[in-house]
């Protein structure tokens, strides 16, 4: 079983995060568990607002506070209890043990500092080397991500979107982190650039041996880079398994819905089957299964209580009450 995994780089247990605003309490993360081994890649899939980014930020303890409050749970990063670490140690971990690539490369670089400076900064912070060496190493990193080191002294506005994201990647990998958090790293880029950037990331991650959490709503990317997949809905992991588990033996109706909204190039006859309805209001989540209102398999039972994890194999679990009923299976399985 998952709990027995050894040598975990990341171990999140029952994480609950709320945003307590004037307008009400947003239940962003509702009991997420993540176990990730060294060197492995986990994909977090889900719609916008499902709590993926919040989860990733909590690993860095960067959930904006106020209003964000980590209500319960624990996060162990390479054995360190992130939630109870003194700030100084936390700062020592960020960018070093774990680093993050953000969604929008346009805004995630400081416009008034040169790209070189921004890379050198993280190196100088975490490695005990001189300013000069840090600069040299920052130049190396630029080359690693495919940018000539001559551009060290240029400012972000002089770079294209894809180039910026490469800079961000260089910055994230500069200190050889054990865990890389990639929050939709390619969403803001156009398709050809996406592929290049993704390729770079994949290559480098393997080269550096970092574990990675890839946050995306693009199943294609998941298929390309991930070892394991967690499907997130309304702050909960509704289905988790290896890449094969999820792609080949899809269990959850929501996962099915995600596949259904992908255009299928081989079968052009098949119409897109978008998931109907909208995500529930996070300030007012339904009592039962959060997906129930949108679920075509929904029964009266579903609205009564939140479904628990149901392990279907060593690597695969699903949260869906219908699996209490023997013989239930979703349409995709039937095909």
């Amino acid at each position: 079983m998952a709990e027995q995994k050894k040598d975990l780089v990341l171990d999140i247990k029952d994480l609950v995060i709320h945003y307590e605003t004037d307008d009400g309490v947003v239940e962003a993360v509702n009991g997420i568990d993540i176990q990730l081994e060294h060197g492995k890649t986990l994909g977090l899939v889900g719609e916008t607002g499902s709590g993926k980014t919040t989860t990733a930020l909590s690993i860095l303890r960067l959930v904006p506070d106020p209003p964000g409050v980590i209500k319960s749970g624990s996060i162990k990063l390479d054995g360190k209890d992130v939630l109870n670490l003194p700030v100084a140690e936390l700062e020592a971990i960020r960018g070093n043990l774990v680093s993050m690539i953000f969604q929008d490369p346009m805004t995630s670089l400081n416009p008034v500092l040169t790209v070189g400076e921004q890379i050198a900064e993280v190196i100088a912070l975490h490695e005990n080397i001189s300013e000069k060496e840090a600069q040299t190493k920052a130049g190396d990193m630029l080359e690693v991500v495919g940018i000539p080191r001559e551009r060290y002294g240029e400012y972000p506005h002089q770079f294209s979107g894809g180039m910026k994201q490469r800079v961000v990647i260089a910055m994230a990998l500069a200190c050889n982190p054990k865990l890389l958090l990639a929050d939709e790293p390619t969403t803001a880029l156009d398709v050809t650039i996406q592929a290049q950037v993704l390729e770079t990331m994949k290559k480098l991650r393997e080269q550096y041996g970092s574990a990675m959490i890839m946050i995306t709503h693009d199943l294609g990317i998941i298929a390309e880079v991930c070892d394991e997949v967690s499907v997130v809905y309304a702050g909960q992991i509704v289905e988790h398994g290896t890449l094969e588990d999820i792609f080949e033996s899809t269990m959850h109706p929501y996962t099915e819905g995600l596949f259904g909204s992908l255009p299928n190039i081989e079968e052009r006859k098949a119409r897109l089957q978008p998931i109907t309805g909208l995500m529930p209001d996070p300030t007012n989540l339904p009592k039962g299964c959060c997906f129930a209102p949108r679920c075509k398999y929904c029964t009266e039972n579903c609205a009564k209580s939140r479904p628990d994890k149901k392990w279907v194999s060593d690597t695969h679990y699903v949260r869906c009450s219908r699996y209490e009923e023997p013989g239930f299976q979703i349409e995709r399985r039937g095909q």
């Binding site: 605003t21 004037d22 307008d23 106020p66 209003p67």
Partner: protein, 299 residues
């Protein structure tokens, strides 16, 4: 036909949204303790100025001189003391709030309307219009405000409104600049393009999209400028451009007490405090409003 309908629908929607927004802003504002304190003080001041006649009779107390009790400090009979003519300072402060508050508000409104319009036009149309208006603003900025005030007041004759006009005109440039800058940042935004696509004309765009987006810097500026407007009446009345005596007005009281600052400090202290409290309240409210208006800033 079709376009008009859509347009109408949009406007309707806009109105609904705006009403909703006002409620939302108020709800956010209520949470801000400092802003509410400011609002409370302002409401109190406005009430005091409205009921000034009930509190103190104008002819019998406010302008009643009695030189036998001049320059007396605070006492039971005169809570804030008496001025150089033996008039009750509290009564004069209460009645003075009428003039001072309206001078502040009207002077600022004048400069906001003129400056805002100039700035919006300059920013919106750009090019030659912009250049022409902004050079004019530069020129206006270089003319000493005192010279402007003297000329306006003297040319139009000494009256409260002309005084307000004089004070207002001298701060036109700063509003023009702020509004222009805001317009420049807003006018190429997608939602403005969108509004244009559905057939909104320039005026509608300025009113419903650009102006609301300039609110934050304008509110900050307005709340500070009301302060300087009230203070500048004191400077102007020192030059003989103020409110006609014996009408009480805070600025004039402040400057009138200047000669007695050492020997009878209460003559300046209390009008000074009145001005300080008003300005504080106004600015706290202004800050709160700014935060409440800016959805990005919400907690």
């Amino acid at each position: 036909m079709e376009a008009a309908k859509i347009n109408g629908a949009v406007q309707e929607g806009g109105a609904v949204k705006r009403r909703g927004q006002a409620g939302e802003i108020w709800r956010r504002l209520k949470k801000n303790k400092m802003a509410m304190a400011g609002l409370a003080v302002l409401v109190l001041l406005i009430l005091v100025s409205i009921f000034a006649d009930v509190l103190f009779d104008y002819n019998e107390i406010v302008i009643k001189q009695d030189t036998s009790i001049r320059l007396q400090g605070p006492s039971g009979a005169h809570w804030l003391g008496t001025d150089e003519f033996g008039r009750d300072i509290l009564a004069r402060l209460v009645h003075g709030s009428r003039v001072s508050l309206s001078v502040g508000v009207i002077a600022v409104s004048i400069s906001l309307v003129i400056g805002g319009a100039l700035g919006a036009i300059a920013g919106f149309y750009g090019g030659k219009t912009d250049n022409l208006i902004m050079r004019f603003i530069d020129i206006l900025l270089a003319v000493p405000s005192l010279l402007l005030s003297i000329t306006i007041v003297s040319a139009l004759g000494p009256s409260i409104f002309n005084l307000m006009l004089a004070i207002g005109v001298s701060s036109v440039p700063s509003y023009a600049r702020i509004v222009r800058a805001s317009v420049l940042t807003v006018k190429d935004q997608e939602y403005v393009e969108a509004a244009r696509c559905i057939g909104a004309n320039n005026f509608e765009i300025i009113v419903s999209h650009i102006i609301p987006n300039c609110m934050a810097p304008i509110i900050v500026q307005v709340s500070l400028k009301v302060a300087s407007a009230i203070l500048s009446t004191s400077g102007l009345s020192f030059l003989g451009l103020g409110i006609k005596a014996p009408t009480p007005e805070w600025g004039a009281m402040l400057s009138g007490g200047r000669a007695y600052l050492r020997n009878a400090p209460h003559l300046t202290l209390f009008p000074g405090l009145a001005i300080i409290i008003t300005i504080l309240a106004l600015n706290l409210l202004g800050d709160g409003l700014r935060d409440a208006l800016d959805p990005k800033l919400k907690k």
